[in-house]
């Protein structure tokens, strides 16, 4: 069902085509004729109706589980009044034409796909609908306002005449494209708001979906890279000749990337087994690297030491010092969280073919714009000579925003003159990630004599992601991810102070599903619970009392608590915890029920109730799935995940020492969608942040023990 098409192919297809071009003043809708004539414009959304009654919608966002190949077509199809059974999707190629109008990039991240594409896609659908209606009215010689589009047809009720979109497509294509088509009243949405089945399920079930690792190109070589095992390590010796003696091995090449430093020694061979065997034969001896003293203990010490340093002030309301002095009760806590690995089930891979006249890249990427840029720099080719074929992504979670594997494959293809298929092993994938940053916080809070929360002082020590990825978004030395969810917390507190201390480490960091909110929601929502306890208030009531003017946060808490039966008694050894967090424009609250066996030290989260307000709802089934997914990933991180640093490198290597949540550990999850009709929020990430603090707070309810370090160490909960 999915394949990639070229611009030329698309235009060659008969029927009605609508594109949208980006202009500073707004969108411009275009027909196929205008597209063919004008080479300078950049249409970024395509919709085509062919005489065979197939409606094809080109999706400029990467599919990594979040359902964009369904949700985005639903938006177009609804405005178009299409027959859903006739809707197909195509994957957009990379290029200026398909950039996201709001981010200015062709990329998928920040839970923005639906938010950014909603309006232009509605307009494209509505314009095509008006063209089809006009075409029918002209043919029948009746006023257009007597005709109506419905379920893939245009109908003239008075004369009981009907024509299908396919029959009208050619005629409609000669009409001017309306620039301001009227959008439907939301009450008339037919698909939007409904739990439609995904368009990509069948191929994902029968195994035919093509992921990056499934690509084959004639005459390709396989590559495998022996990488420095420690940060900054240099090769002392290696045996190139031994590798070249292995059957099928053609090249041994040093890989120096554009923006990720030295990558190691690649072996390129005719077969995958040859590439691995050759790589082993290299027998590289490495030196001790640049940070031989770095390990988990030294990291912890460094984090704690940095808590004593001065940082940059991200927020300063009222007078925190004075308020802390005057507070009748003071609470102080320090939290520490580890580096986290993305663990996409499909390891990093890329297939590239560089020739003097062009370059083709097949890659599961979240960042087509980045892929084009680096390929252009490495090859010296112009972006329009480079074709990026986006495959399915076997998980993304922010990891596939990076272009490290692309840089490696493109360099190797350029140097060998052959197409290169580069697959990382799981071990390479674990050890060469750009991790969710480790971090530490010191928080102080104060309660007055009426048990009201009057002051919050929060210092966060965390490595910076934005200074590397989007340096232009650093403001006054503040990384927006570092203080996301702290500086903008929903709670109304008269005195708030937020300080950020940037920590530079040799361990590279990147976007990990929900980014800064992964750690900041934990510390904020655990600490608010500590304050509630100090104020002798119910954790839910305490939160609500601070959210009186924050309706959406208030509501999701209320719904989650009510559906969970917040006040209902639990069995001995069980506890219930709550947390809420706003991220990526969506409000999410979760109540977790856990059982703690303090004799043997076992924690089980057996039930999670989630309430989400993401504004308008496109596909509630996808929203529910994304909440479930975020909860499982966040719970996995809270209970099990953390990278181990040792001797200046990553000691963690595979799922034997980086364990993920498995089926028997997965809780029952209930998701309740609060339909607020407010502004659209994101859905891929906001399910992650609240679960870790909800579970930690539930453990406190069950045991009276506070969790201030992740992953949660069940051993420490043992009653001695």
């Amino acid at each position: 069902m999915s394949r990639q098409l070229t611009r030329r192919e698309f235009l060659r297809l008969a029927g009605l085509t609508v594109a949208i071009s980006l202009a500073p003043s707004g969108y411009r809708l275009l027909s196929a004729e205008e597209i063919a004539k004008d080479k300078s414009f950049s249409p970024n959304v395509w919709l085509q109706i062919t005489p065979d009654n197939i409606v094809t919608i080109v999706v400029n966002k990467s599919e990594m589980g979040q359902g964009v190949y369904t949700s985005l077509p639903m938006i177009v199809a609804d405005e178009l009044d299409a027959d859903w059974k006739q809707v197909r999707f195509e994957v957009a190629p990379a290029g200026e034409r398909y950039i996201d109008p709001l981010s200015g990039m062709e990329s998928t991240g920040g839970s923005t796909s639906v938010r950014h594409m909603f309006e232009p896609l509605r307009k494209a659908g509505a314009a095509a609908r008006e063209m089809l209606v006009s075409a029918a009215a002209k043919k029948w010689g009746v006023p257009a306002n007597e005709c109506k589009a419905s379920n893939g047809m245009v109908i003239h009720k008075k004369s009981n005449r009907k024509l299908t979109f396919g029959q009208l497509s050619e005629r409609a294509s000669s009409l001017p494209v309306p620039q301001n088509p009227s959008l439907k009243n939301e009450r008339h949405f037919k698909f939007i708001g409904k739990p439609l089945d995904r368009l990509d399920t069948t191929e994902k079930v029968n195994g035919s979906a093509v992921f990056g690792i499934d690509v084959f190109v004639p005459n390709m070589l396989y590559a495998s890279i022996e990488r420095p095992p420690l940060y900054g390590a240099q090769a002392l010796s290696y045996d190139k000749e031994a590798a070249l003696k292995i059957a099928g091995v053609k090249h041994v090449i040093d890989v120096q990337s554009l923006s990720y430093g030295y990558r190691g020694k690649a072996v390129c061979a005719e077969t995958i087994e040859g590439a691995w065997k050759g790589r082993n034969a290299l027998n590289v001896k490495w030196d001790r690297g640049s940070h031989p003293e770095l390990n988990n203990e030294s990291l912890h010490t460094t984090l704690i030491e940095h808590l004593k340093k001065d940082g940059v002030v991200a927020r300063n309301d009222g007078d925190v010092k004075l308020a802390l002095k005057k507070a009748s009760k003071k609470v102080e806590a320090t939290y520490t969280l580890p580096y986290l690995y993305h663990s996409t089930m499909e390891p990093m891979n890329c297939t590239a073919h560089v020739s003097p006249s062009g370059c083709d890249i097949w890659v599961p990427t979240q960042n087509q714009t980045g892929v084009l840029q680096v390929a252009s720099k490495i090859t010296g080719l112009k972006p329009d000579q480079i074709n990026v074929h986006t495959t399915y992504l076997g998980g993304g979670f922010g990891r596939r925003f990076e272009t490290d594997v692309v840089q490696e494959a493109v360099q190797l293809s350029k140097e060998t003159g052959r197409p290169i298929k580069l697959i990382w092993s799981r071990e390479e994938d674990v050890k060469n990630d750009l991790y969710r940053p480790a971090n530490s916080c010191k928080i102080e809070g104060g309660i007055d004599e009426k048990d009201l929360l009057v002051v919050w002082s929060h210092k966060v020590v965390v490595p910076s992601i934005f200074s590397r990825v989007f340096p232009q978004m650093m403001k006054n030395g503040i990384d927006p991810a570092a203080v996301e969810g702290i500086a903008n917390m929903e709670y109304e507190i008269p005195n708030v102070y937020v300080e950020y201390v940037r920590l530079d480490m040799p361990v590279p960091v990147g976007f990990w599903r929900s980014v800064g909110s992964t750690h900041n929601a934990f510390t904020v929502e655990c600490f608010i619970d500590e304050l509630a306890h100090a104020a002798n208030k119910d954790p839910l009531e305490f939160r609500l009392s601070l959210l009186k003017n924050h309706k959406r946060a208030y509501k999701v808490l209320e719904v989650a608590a009510e559906k969970a039966g917040w006040k209902k008694p639990l069995e001995k050894g069980q506890g219930r915890g709550i947390a809420q967090h706003l991220s990526f424009g969506s409000y999410v609250a979760q109540v977790a029920e856990v059982s703690v066996d303090e004799k043997i030290g076992i924690i089980k989260a057996h039930r999670v109730v989630c309430a989400v307000d993401c504004g308008d709802v496109i596909n509630p089934a996808i929203i529910t799935a994304q909440m479930q997914s975020g909860i499982i990933m966040g719970l996995s991180a809270a209970l099990k995940e953390g990278i181990e640093l040792k001797k200046g490198g990553v000691a963690t290597s595979n799922f034997n020492n980086y364990e993920l949540l498995r089926m028997h550990e997965a809780p029952e999850i209930e998701v309740h969608i609060v339909r607020s009709r407010e502004k659209l929020g994101g859905i891929g990430e906001p399910g992650v942040p609240p679960i870790a603090p909800a579970v930690a707070n539930a453990i406190f309810a069950a045991t009276g023990k506070r969790i201030r370090r992740l992953p949660i160490n069940a051993e420490e909960l043992k009653k001695t």
Binding site: E63, M64, G65, Q66, G67, D197, R198, D200, T201, T202, E203, K204, V205, N206, G207, S208, A209, V210, F211, I213, D214, F216, Y222, T271, I272, E273, S343, T344, M345, E346, P347, Y392, L393, G394, G395, G396, F397, I423, S425, R426, A621, A625, Q628, S629, G630, I631, I632, M633, S636, N654, F655, N656, L660, L661, R662, M663, H664, A666, E668, I669
Partner: protein, 150 residues
């Protein structure tokens, strides 16, 4: 030359007998529904059937698989109750681990047509899903079990 039988078809492959079956299936036979996940049998993405039993193809050398009947996701009929249930329950998110999950579930139901929750969990526990589709997998297995029993 190695001869293996996959999905009732015999293939001759020019490969050393000590290459893992997974890579022969994927990169030589181009049956790419079977996925690589970890290479140490801890994720289940590479699960295939060997003589009807679910096995991790990353742990079996192609030489050992000679003379045995190998089935991959491509060899499971489209109308198989498990595939149908997976679609009906809308299990996949990114989809990468799903062929392995399905192969494991098909083997489970061929042995036990009425698995309890505990039995489902103990058999499926070896298959990781980073998207967290576990609840739906459980639901789909129960739906498929009903069909299998009919």
């Amino acid at each position: 030359m190695i001869t293996i039988e996959v999905n009732r078809k015999k293939y001759q492959v020019d490969v050393s007998p000590n290459v893992p079956l997974l890579w022969v299936i994927r990169e030589h036979l181009k049956l790419t529904g079977t996925k690589y996940g970890c290479g140490i049998s801890l994720c289940g993405a590479c699960t295939v059937h060997i003589d009807g039993k679910a096995q991790r193809s990353c742990q079996i050398l192609v030489g050992e698989a000679q003379g045995k009947k190998i089935t991959t996701i491509e060899g499971i009929p489209e109308d198989h109750p498990v595939k149908r249930a997976w679609i009906k329950a809308q299990v996949p998110q990114c989809g990468y681990c799903q062929p392995g999950q399905i192969m494991q579930a098909v083997a489970l139901l061929s042995e036990k047509s009425h698995p309890s929750d505990e039995e489902i969990m103990s058999v499926m526990d070896g298959n990781l899903c980073r998207c967290g589709t576990y609840t739906k997998i459980k639901k789909a297995i129960k739906m498929a079990a009903k069909e299998v029993r009919k």
